[in-house]
């Protein structure tokens, strides 16, 4: 039993339960209730972050491949489900990232929660946010296949309501599409889990990883890998299963987008590394070339879609554009995983975290622009020459440019290492995989980086540059506000740190990845 991980899950769960208390418990009148509820949310998520920092501080970096802070007790003996928690070098960064992003979202929401007719009270929002945090954290710390499935499902209901209630545009349709798509994927994933669990006789991830596919026939492995991979690919999302993502992002409120891109997508790729690679290695090896192909197509497709959206006169929505750019970036992650090499998988995990930081920041920025201008439509924002943020709101403009160049993979910033390593992995894939195929994927991904650079620079030019004297949609917009600075600075700083000191993350993930791939 280890109290830290249990507290990590129990704290937000308790917080979510407390928000069900009658409204009067939060204050005498509605305004006070709202304010206190939001502060309460920030407090709880802050405590969770403190816990994760303590967890990271106590983490034994010398043995990053070993599960630490382990709790392992029986929960439902009837079907062999154990309450098994633990973190290793792969999950630790994601746990910290999740806690950080949730806190930043909670802090941001204390000042900037969408309000209006038909929008429920802030207490409900805080409750959902905390429940979402439970699910996200649980996904990264559980070590039982059925618990993993449970955690995977916990996030659906809160995210559904965040999009459907606090979103904009065709929000209900987007939310429905999000939840139905993901549920279909995870139901199929469950079938794969059950197949593995019943054939291997255990649902325990560490035991299954240690067996490394022993005792599972090739057919079973391929079937299970297909089912599990399908479910995770929907979540990741891999092309062509991504079509729920742009709508969800476009409709979601800012914090919903940040968490969706920053954490929820990672649950899919984390599952690929944690479950697919070690548990059904033969099946994964059979399917890896196809996954790699989908990844390469995803990279090119995502960036082409973004280019089309960034063009003048195409009525491109900035949030939608960043959503498509996520498809491209997650393509790199999938490519790294598909290479089945330590280099590629390390790159994938690095890109995972980097994408969470950078895209989280981008969504915050675009959300702020949407708040200020009332629209995220690129053509409306840019006008004839450009939105001229450098002139009108220099700090926001600079941050946007920073996030954009980080996203396109400028060396020295976080976006660079993951994509380079993923491509390295594809250049020299694991034994048994077709090298020409993977080199082709690598070339396609390389083309993707060029396209990515192209559209991001177009976006920077159209949003940040321009003539400040031309008439704008809204005149005299505010520059960076204090609460925005508070919630964005950590992301920008970490982007820089991860870019300059990649060993911080790679040192953690490398031993664990080698362990999972069966090499160490």
């Amino acid at each position: 039993m280890n109290a830290v991980l249990i507290a990590l899950l129990a704290l937000p769960l308790l917080g979510a339960a407390l928000t069900l208390a009658p409204a009067t418990a939060f204050g005498p009148d509605r305004a006070t209730q709202e304010k206190r509820a939001l502060r309460f949310g920030a407090l709880v998520t802050g405590l969770v972050l403190v816990l994760t920092v303590a967890l990271a501080a106590g983490f034994d970096r010398a043995h990053a491949s070993r599960m630490q802070a382990v709790t392992d007790t029986a929960w439902i003996p009837a079907i062999g489900v154990r309450f098994h928690l633990g973190v290793d070098g792969i999950s630790l960064p994601l746990v910290v990232l999740t806690a950080l992003l949730t806190l930043l979202c909670a802090v941001y929401s204390t000042r900037r929660l969408p309000d209006g007719p038909g929008v429920p009270s802030a207490r409900v929002f805080v409750g959902l946010l905390l429940l979402l945090e439970v699910g996200m954290l649980a996904t990264f710390v559980v070590l039982d296949l059925l618990l993993f499935f449970l955690a995977f499902e916990i996030v659906l209901i809160p995210m559904y309501f965040l999009i459907a209630r606090w979103g904009s545009g065709a929000k209900v349709a987007s939310a429905n599409r999000f939840i139905l798509y993901t549920l279909l994927g995870s139901a199929v994933m469950l079938l794969g889990f059950l197949l593995v669990g019943l054939k291997a006789g255990t649902f325990d991830m560490t035991a299954l990883a240690a067996a490394h596919g022993h005792g599972l026939s090739h057919t079973t492995q391929v079937l299970a890998a297909l089912a599990i991979g399908l479910g995770l690919a929907v979540k990741a999302p891999a092309w062509p299963l991504h079509s729920w993502l742009p709508d969800a992002h476009t409709s979601a409120p800012t914090v919903g987008s940040v968490l969706l891109a920053g954490v929820l997508l990672k649950m899919g790729t984390y599952g690929l590394v944690r479950v697919l690679l070690p548990v059904v290695p033969d099946g994964t090896a059979t399917l890896a070339p196809y996954l790699g192909a989908l990844a390469a197509v995803g990279v090119v497709y995502g960036s082409l879609a973004c280019l089309a959206l960034a063009r003048q006169g195409s009525k491109g929505d900035l949030k939608r554009l960043i959503a498509y750019s996520s498809v491209g970036h997650m393509g790199f992650v999938l490519l790294g995983i598909a290479s089945l090499t330590p280099v590629g998988v390390n790159g994938a995990l690095f890109a995972n975290v980097a994408h969470g930081l950078i895209t989280g920041l981008l969504f915050f920025l675009v959300g702020a622009l949407k708040d200020r201008y009332g629209t995220a439509d690129l053509d409306t924002l840019a006008g004839a020459t450009g939105a001229a943020l450098y002139g009108r709101a220099p700090r926001i403009g600079a941050l946007l440019a920073f996030a954009a160049v980080a996203s396109l993979g400028l060396p020295g910033l976080a976006g660079f290492w993951g994509e380079v390593l993923a491509m390295f992995g594809a250049f020299d894939p694991a034994a048994g995989l077709s090298r020409p195929a993977f080199v082709t994927y690598m070339v396609l991904a390389g083309l993707g980086t060029l396209l990515t650079a192209a559209y991001l620079l177009i976006v920077v030019r159209r949003v940040c540059m321009g003539d400040p004297k031309q008439p704008a949609v809204v005149e005299g917009i505010a520059d960076l506000r204090p609460y925005e600075a508070v919630s964005w600075t950590p992301l920008a700083a970490l982007t820089l740190v991860a870019g300059l000191w990649p060993a911080l993350l790679l040192g953690l993930s490398d031993p664990a990845v080698k362990h999972l791939l069966g090499g160490g």
Partner: protein, 535 residues
């Protein structure tokens, strides 16, 4: 109960007693007089017996109680059902108790010749039947008053039906099974029709006709099976089917098929499901809840007994049949539920009715798996799922009854913004619906689905598991739409002035909600039936 005792008559026994003229000579013709007198294990049959006795007590009390004290009848019913539930406790330990046995060998562990066996399977289904009836009774306490239903008749019918439902899972021969099933059904027709308006009458008639047809078909099947195997005892039938002579094979197979068709009617499997929505909307709401849980549980218990004991030799045939039936039932139920419009009258009840058809499809999956696996082990999944479904479905009907008090039309639109008006009722309904959908925070519903999936995957029924996965997604859509409606912020603030909730209704709702939450935290409580042996 059938007690086909055929003790051999011995003439020698009579001679020994010739010197005692006080004893009537015909009695002395039996060598072993004790063999004729069945020693009834009263403890084993206590649960259905208590329910039956309470039914009689209610009927008698109704004659003597003055009108203003009629409320006591409902309390008497609830107390009787609670007592019957308590009577299950002494039966849980040790090996299964059996009574009404043909070869009355005391202490024998083999209960093959017994007509009533209180094993785990029977006990769990009795728990479901009596517990479901108790919750339905508690929900009905105020309905009987408010809708001016004849209270003596109502409680008597409910208890009689519950008696049948408690008897059925323990019965081990076809005659007892059919009688028990009819004891469940016959009072139900009257219960549905008790609300004496046009809708109630139509509902009762539809229910009656389809159910009687099912019984007729089933009886025909039972007689064929009896003709082919020479026995009504389930385990004897299994042996008889294996050894049936060639020319009787078609008869036996036809009999088995017809018996299954009869049960398919009772569990409202497609294509025998058309009575469900009309019957549920016409009946008083607690009765609809009762039918959807207890009535269905009785049908499933019978189906499980007949298939996995009596027709075991035909496992692959009925396994396939049930698998197809399951796939079609869940799909048809879900698609129909999906098409419910939010503004039609009784839309909420119709949605619950169709969803219960779909849930019947999920419940059929482990039965089909049992056919493929050739053992009764997968049945545990059906039992566990039925328990979970029973609890949350009755809870959902309870909230529907609550809303129906202020909005008699019970449209789905009447649930709009329920959270703002009745916070806890809305939260409870949301939880029940998510349990039915199988999505967290309804954890217990999720694990209910997991064990069903597990049974299917384990038996190699991958295609059925995939069909069910798709169905779970379809079902989520309508459950979620309904859930989302509850939390729509009200456009006007003037929502006060709601009538007070009757205490019994509030208590029942909290009971079911707390039960569902507790099971979500500790699913082992209900899922333990999956791992243990049932028979």
């Amino acid at each position: 109960m059938i007690s086909s005792v055929s003790a051999p008559v011995s003439a020698a026994a009579g001679h020994q007693l010739l010197g005692q003229p006080a004893v009537h000579p015909t009695l002395l013709a039996v060598s072993n007089p004790g063999g004729l007198i069945q020693s009834v294990d009263w403890v084993a049959i206590a649960p259905p017996l208590i329910a039956a006795l309470t039914a009689l007590a209610v009927l008698l009390a109704d004659l003597f109680l003055p009108e203003r004290h009629k409320k006591l009848l409902g309390r008497l019913t609830a107390a009787g059902l609670a007592l019957a539930l308590l009577a299950l406790l002494p039966l849980t330990g040790g090996h299964p108790r059996a009574t009404f046995c043909a070869q009355n060998v005391t202490g024998a562990t083999d209960n093959a010749g017994c007509s009533y066996v209180a094993d785990h399977f029977a006990l769990v289904f009795q728990l479901l039947a009596l517990g479901g009836a108790l919750i339905a009774a508690l929900l009905s306490l105020h309905t009987v008053d408010e809708e001016k239903l004849p209270s003596g008749e109502f409680w008597f019918l409910l208890l009689s039906s519950a008696t049948g439902a408690a008897l059925l899972p323990a019965s081990r021969d076809l005659a007892t099974l059919v009688v028990a099933l009819e004891v469940v059904s016959l009072p139900s027709f009257a219960l549905v029709g008790l609300r004496r308006d046009g809708r109630g009458g139509e509902a009762a008639l539809k229910f009656f006709l389809s159910s009687v047809t099912a019984t007729a078909v089933m009886l025909l099947g039972v007689s064929f099976v009896y003709a082919a195997t020479g026995s009504l005892h389930l385990s004897a039938i299994a042996e008889g089917l294996g050894q049936a002579p060639g020319q009787l094979k078609p008869l036996a197979e036809a009999g088995a098929a017809l018996t299954l068709v009869g049960f398919a009617f009772k569990v409202a499997a497609v294509p025998f499901h058309f009575w469900v929505p009309d019957t549920y909307t016409g009946a008083p709401l607690p009765v609809a809840g009762y039918l959807s849980v207890v009535g269905k549980a009785a049908g499933f218990a019978g189906l499980a007994l007949v298939t996995s004991i009596a027709f075991r030799p035909y496992g692959h045939t009925w396994g396939l049949l049930l698998a197809v039936l399951a796939a079609v039932t869940m799909t048809a139920g879900n698609v129909a539920a999906l098409r419910q419009r939010s503004d039609t009258a009784q839309g909420a009840v119709r949605l619950l009715a169709w969803s219960s058809v779909a849930q019947a499809g999920y419940l059929l999956v482990p039965l089909a798996a049992a056919g493929y696996a050739g053992s009764a082990h997968p049945l545990g999944a059906t039992v566990a799922y039925a328990l979970i479904y029973g609890l949350v479905n009755l809870g959902a009907f309870g909230v529907a009854a609550l809303v129906g008090r202020t909005a008699p039309d019970n449209r789905l639109d009447d649930y709009q913004g329920l959270f703002a008006r009745r916070r806890w009722a809305a939260l409870a309904l949301a939880f029940f619906l998510l349990c039915l959908a199988g999505l967290p925070p309804g954890v217990v519903g999720l694990f209910g689905k997991v064990v069903v999936f597990r049974a299917a995957v384990d038996a190699g029924l991958g295609w059925l598991a995939v069909v069910m996965a798709v169905n779970v997604v379809i079902a989520l859509f309508y459950y979620l739409q309904w859930t989302a409606k509850l939390f729509v912020a009200p456009t006007t603030e003037a929502t006060s002035g709601e009538s007070r909730v009757p205490v019994s209704l509030a208590a029942t709702l909290s009971l079911t909600a707390v039960g569902a939450v507790v099971l979500s935290v500790a699913p082992q409580l209900v899922l333990q039936v999956v791992s243990g042996s049932l028979f």
